[in-house]
Each structure stands twice: as structure tokens, then as C-alpha cells.
């Protein structure tokens, strides 16, 4: 392989610029769409990791059969919480913070109000140590609320404003938090008794459990499960693993969708290269007559497809990066989360896919070109 080969490939692609550019665009768009689709999974992973790293207590105790992320009617009974507190020292528990969650207005973070009821006299910092106060007080009073920055901003909640939790329960805004960049910016922290009253229950959603020094979260979670009936105890690591499984499944689904675009992109390359093979039958015949082996012709055509694939893949990665930035700018403004992330391994995977695409697309044209009969290709001279 010499510079003449590269010159042949490059000049051949340049000889029909419109066709080459259109083909390239096809790969660019299909790779970019795949990159963008898969970047959502990476974004989710990143956001989850960041979110969980801001959570203080290391173990979450949930009623059995409830997963960490599913909101629902609170089912953790007060007796269970008491039992946890009683055997705290035995199990290696440093603190037990039961809380109860109430969501108003659906799952859309734009319009939803998420009330998190925490034990009276406790600051939300006990759950999210990174939180800091912007104005007012950090500990909500008996009929008070401490509001996350983003939610406060969106609903123009100043200090002293009144929030309605139910027709009979209203709360005064007593504190406003500084932005934290996570989900906690969208939460209203109130005393748990208020939420329980609104729901007509004495139950809790879950209890965050701190681990005493010298104990491991996994150990403590295991001990809790063994000791207390009817609960499940998850460590941050468990939650991450569970989330990872869910994200991986959604990755597969999104890759499946982008596969359609990739297949179309691949067929585009195959078509272009096949056409250019048919146009150059004489040229290949001449090369063979001069002494080129079949493998040389095969490589020449395959390289052309590969070049289209690699260049298209690289440009597609750049376009995907730009699209991901745009998505993040938008979701950052709307919900304060970067939804999309292009990690190194995603970039590597995208390029790998582009290379494989180029090779697959080039295979048939390359085989056709290399198997031409010399006499026929020369047109019987």
C-alpha cells in the first residue's frame, strides 16, 4: 500500500463530490443519532451517581416489595421505625431518619410539587448534606416549609408565602435553599406529621439509616433485613446496581432504534461504493493486467468504504456532541439536570460502530471488484 493507493481512494471520492458528500452525510446523521440516543443512558448514569453521592445516610430501609425509586402510598409502619431505633446500637446504626413523600401534580418535574416530610426539628441537611441555606431558616417549623431553589424560583415562592398541601393544610415558606444542581432543588421539605395528616396515615415512605463508624453499609443492611420483618434495606451501591440494570435495558432499546438509522447509513455506503466499482471496471481490469493481485483490488475498494465510515463516524460524533450539548442546555434550563453525556467509552463505541459499518458496507463491492475477470474488465482490449 503506497501513497498512490490513498491518492486513488481520495481522488475517486473527490471526483464525484456531491455523491460522496451525500453519502458521508448519511453516515454522519446515523452515527450522530446513535450517539445522541446512547448519551441519554450515560447522562442518566452520571446524574444518578451524582445524586446518590449527595445523599448522607448510607442505607435506605423500605417496606418489602418497594423499590428505591417508586413513589407510592407510604407503607413503612411506625412500629417498624421504632424497632429500628431500638436495635440501633446492636445493628451498627448511627441514626434513623424516617421520611414520607407526597407528590402533587403528576410526574412532570416542571409542574410537580414533591413534599418530603422529615422528622420535626431536623434540617434537610440530615438527608442531603450538600444543601445550604439562601434565606430564612433551615429547619421547618410545625407548619413551615423549606423550599428547594429551583422550585422556589419557578413558582416565585418568597419567604412568608403560603403553600397549600391539602384543602385544610397550608404551610408558610420559612426557608429557601441555594441551588445544588440535583433533584433536591425541586423538593419542598416539611415536617413529616403534616404530610402524614394530608395522607391520613401514620406510615412512612422509607427510613434513611446512618451507619456507625467501624461498620460497613452492606453489613448493616444485611443485619437489618435479618432482624426486622417486612423490610428491605438497600445501600447506595444496591440502588446504583438496580438503576444500572434499568439503564442498561433502556440502552439496548435505544441502540435498537438507532440501529435502523445505522443500517440505512450502511446501505448508503454500500450503494455508493458499488456504483463506483461499476464505473471503474476498466480501471480495475487495467490494474489487474499490470500485475495487481485480487487482494489489492479488494483492499482498495474496502478502504474506500472504510474511509467513508471513519470520516462519517468522526463527524457524526462531533454532531452528536453538539446535539448533546443542546439537549443539556435545554434540560438544564428546564429541570436543572444534564440529561445527556458523551463519555469516552460512548465515543469509542460510536467509532467502532462506524468502522464496522464501513467494513460491512464495503465487503460486497470489494468482492465484486476483486473477482472481475481481467479480459472482460479490459473490454476485450
Amino acid at each position: 500500500m503506497g501513497v498512490e493507493v490513498l491518492a486513488l481512494i481520495y481522488r475517486n471520492l473527490r471526483a464525484r463530490p456531491v455523491r460522496s458528500i451525500l453519502t458521508l452525510l448519511g453516515i454522519v446523521v446515523s452515527t450522530a443519532s446513535m450517539v445522541l440516543f446512547l448519551s441519554f443512558g450515560e447522562g442518566l448514569r452520571k446524574a444518578l451517581g451524582a445524586e446518590l453521592s449527595t445523599v448522607g445516610p448510607a442505607v435506605l430501609v423500605l417496606p418489602e416489595g418497594v423499590e428505591a425509586f417508586s413513589p407510592g402510598y407510604p407503607e413503612l409502619r411506625p412500629e417498624t421505625v421504632e424497632a429500628l431505633k431500638e436495635s440501633a446500637s446492636e445493628l451498627g446504626i448511627s441514626q434513623v431518619i424516617p421520611y414520607v413523600v407526597l407528590t402533587r401534580g403528576g410526574l412532570d418535574p416542571q409542574t410537580a410539587f414533591v413534599f418530603q416530610g422529615i422528622p420535626e426539628g431536623l434540617s434537610p441537611q440530615a438527608l442531603y448534606p450538600n444543601l445550604t441555606l439562601a434565606a430564612g431558616s433551615l429547619v421547618p417549623g410545625p407548619k413551615g416549609a423549606v423550599v428547594g431553589s429551583r422550585l422556589a424560583e419557578r413558582n416565585q415562592l418568597g419567604l412568608g408565602k403560603v403553600l397549600r398541601l391539602s384543602p385544610s393544610i397550608s404551610l408558610r415558606v420559612e426557608g429557601i435553599l441555594k441551588p445544588n444542581g440535583g433533584l433536591s432543588d425541586n423538593i419542598i421539605y416539611v415536617p413529616s406529621s403534616v404530610v402524614q395528616e394530608a395522607l391520613g396515615t401514620r406510615n412512612y415512605t422509607a427510613a434513611a439509616v446512618g451507619v456507625r463508624e467501624g461498620f460497613k453499609a452492606d453489613q448493616v443492611a444485611g443485619a437489618i433485613k435479618a432482624r426486622i420483618a417486612g423490610v428491605n434495606a438497600q445501600t447506595t451501591g444496591d440502588v446504583l446496581r438496580f438503576a444500572e440494570r434499568a439503564v442498561r435495558i433502556s440502552d439496548l432499546v435505544r441502540f435498537g432504534i438507532s440501529l435502523v438509522a445505522l443500517v440505512v447509513g450502511g446501505l448508503l455506503v454500500a450503494n455508493t461504493v458499488m456504483m463506483s466499482v461499476y464505473e471503474r471496471i476498466r480501471e480495475f481490469g487495467l490494474m489487474r493486467a499490470l500485475g495487481a493481485k485480487q487482494g489489492f483490488i479488494f483492499g482498495l475498494v474496502l478502504l474506500e468504504a472504510l474511509l467513508l465510515g471513519v470520516v462519517g463516524g468522526l463527524l457524526g460524533l462531533l454532531l452528536g456532541q453538539a446535539a448533546s450539548g443542546l439537549v443539556n442546555w435545554f434540560t438544564g434550563r428546564e429541570v436543572g439536570l444534564a440529561l445527556s453525556a458523551i463519555t469516552f467509552r460512548l465515543a469509542f463505541f460510536a467509532l467502532l460502530v462506524a468502522v464496522v459499518l464501513g467494513l460491512l458496507a464495503g465487503f460486497l463491492p470489494a468482492r465484486t471488484a476483486s473477482r472481475l475477470k481481467v479480459v472482460e474488465a479490459l473490454g476485450r482490449l
Binding site: V5, A7, L8, E283, L290, K293, G295, V374, L381
Partner: protein
């Protein structure tokens, strides 16, 4: 060096068989050999067999001690690269390579380094009088210039055998004469030059002329006397 033994080539065209080359045997000596004959007499088919572009239905082509025509496609390609050079009637050059790159192409196939093959290609173009055309694209060259580039390329790996199929067919007489002169010169250098032509005037300059009719070798006309006449021109 190059020898055809009982070469036989049959084409099937629907129901009828066409015999394009019929029991052709000849051992090609060094020097210029012309193959002449009316249209359809099998000249091009014979050349295709001798050069290994195609395989005979029967018979063999030997290249030195190698049964050339029985080898695989790739093996024939490799031998062709090292032992044979070609000048065709037209479309000789790769259109997306410059004159210089076209001449360097066989050297690249043979694995000669970029520097060396570029220098050698430039020298070869100089030798055929095209030192000022190295960077030109084939379509910017005249027909005669294209043929001379093809001759330079045919000589790139210094092969003992040169094939030329109607090399002057598309040229005016002046450029044709130039091309013939170059081929004659190569024959005098001791190469085996095999020239297929319609042009009897051209054939007369060869040391021997093979006459084909219906694929059969009808007559071998030796003309050793012409050798001196040629070298004087």
C-alpha cells in the same frame, strides 16, 4: 522465454462454438515479433492467453520453466508484474493518477519505496521525452503522449517481455512513429517485444511477422535483413 504450446481457445456463443485460437505453437525469441491478420483472426485473444489475462481451453503457455497458463489468477498476476509490460490501444492509464504516479504504480505493487519509485518514474518519463509532463493528468495528455507514458510504465520493472496491442491504432502517423521507435529500441535492447497490429507498414519493421487466419498460425516471415535497416534509423 515465452512459449505457446498447442494453444486452443474456444468461445461458446449460444449454440455455436467460436474457435478464436486454433492450435497455436510458437516460441518467441528476443526482438520484435509482429502478429498480423484480418479482423477476427484471433490476435487479441492470442495476446490475452500469452499475457495470462485469460486461460486457454487447451494447450499451455510457458514462461521460462513455469507452466504460466496453469497457475492461479494471483500467481499469474505476480509473474506478469515482474516479467511483462503492456501497451494497449487506448485507456492505458489510470485516470485519477498523474503521469508520474501511473509509471510508479507497478513499482508500488512490487514494493519499491516511494522515493526510489518516484525517482525512477521521473527518469523513465524523461527517457520517453515527457520530462515536462510528470504532473499531468492522463486526460490532459495527447494520445501519443499517453502511449509514451504507457511505454515508460511498461518498462518500470525492467521486464524481459513487452506486449503491445495496436499501440498506434489511435494515433496520427507522426506520434505513431515515435511510439514505434521506442518499441523498436526496446527490442534492440534484447527484450521480447510482441506487437499486434493491422498495420502492415508497421509490421514490416519487425524481425519476424506471424500471420494469423481463423485463429491459426498460417505463416512465419523471418526478415533478419531488416535488422540493420532498423538500427540505422
Amino acid at each position: 522465454m515465452l512459449e505457446a504450446i498447442n494453444l486452443y481457445k474456444r468461445y461458446h456463443q449460444g449454440e455455436v462454438d467460436v474457435v478464436a485460437v486454433d492450435r497455436f505453437s510458437y516460441r518467441f525469441p528476443a526482438g520484435l515479433t509482429a502478429i498480423v491478420g484480418p479482423s477476427g483472426s484471433g490476435k487479441t485473444t492470442l495476446l490475452n492467453l500469452l499475457a495470462g489475462f485469460d486461460v486457454p481451453s487447451e494447450g499451455e503457455v510457458w514462461l521460462g520453466n513455469t507452466p504460466f497458463s496453469t497457475l492461479s489468477e494471483d500467481a499469474r498476476s505476480e509473474l506478469r508484474l515482474k516479467h511483462m509490460g503492456f501497451v494497449f490501444q487506448q485507456w492505458n492509464l489510470i485516470p485519477t493518477l498523474t503521469a508520474l504516479e501511473n509509471v510508479a504504480f507497478p513499482m508500488m505493487l512490487a514494493g519499491i519505496g516511494l522515493k526510489e519509485r518516484t525517482a525512477r518514474a521521473a527518469a523513465l518519463l524523461e527517457a520517453v521525452g515527457l520530462g515536462h509532463r510528470v504532473k499531468h493528468w492522463p486526460h490532459k495528455l495527447s494520445g501519443g503522449e499517453q502511449q509514451r507514458v504507457a511505454i515508460a510504465r511498461a518498462l518500470a520493472l525492467n521486464p524481459p517481455i513487452l506486449f503491445a496491442d495496436e499501440p498506434t491504432g489511435n494515433l496520427d502517423s507522426a506520434s505513431g512513429a515515435r511510439v514505434v521507435e521506442l518499441l523498436l529500441h526496446q527490442a534492440q535492447e534484447g527484450r521480447t517485444v510482441i506487437l499486434v497490429t493491422h498495420d502492415l507498414e508497421l509490421a514490416r519493421q519487425a524481425e519476424r511477422v506471424l500471420r494469423l487466419r481463423d485463429g491459426r498460425l498460417m505463416e512465419i516471415e523471418e526478415a533478419p535483413a531488416r535488422r540493420s535497416a532498423v538500427s540505422s534509423c
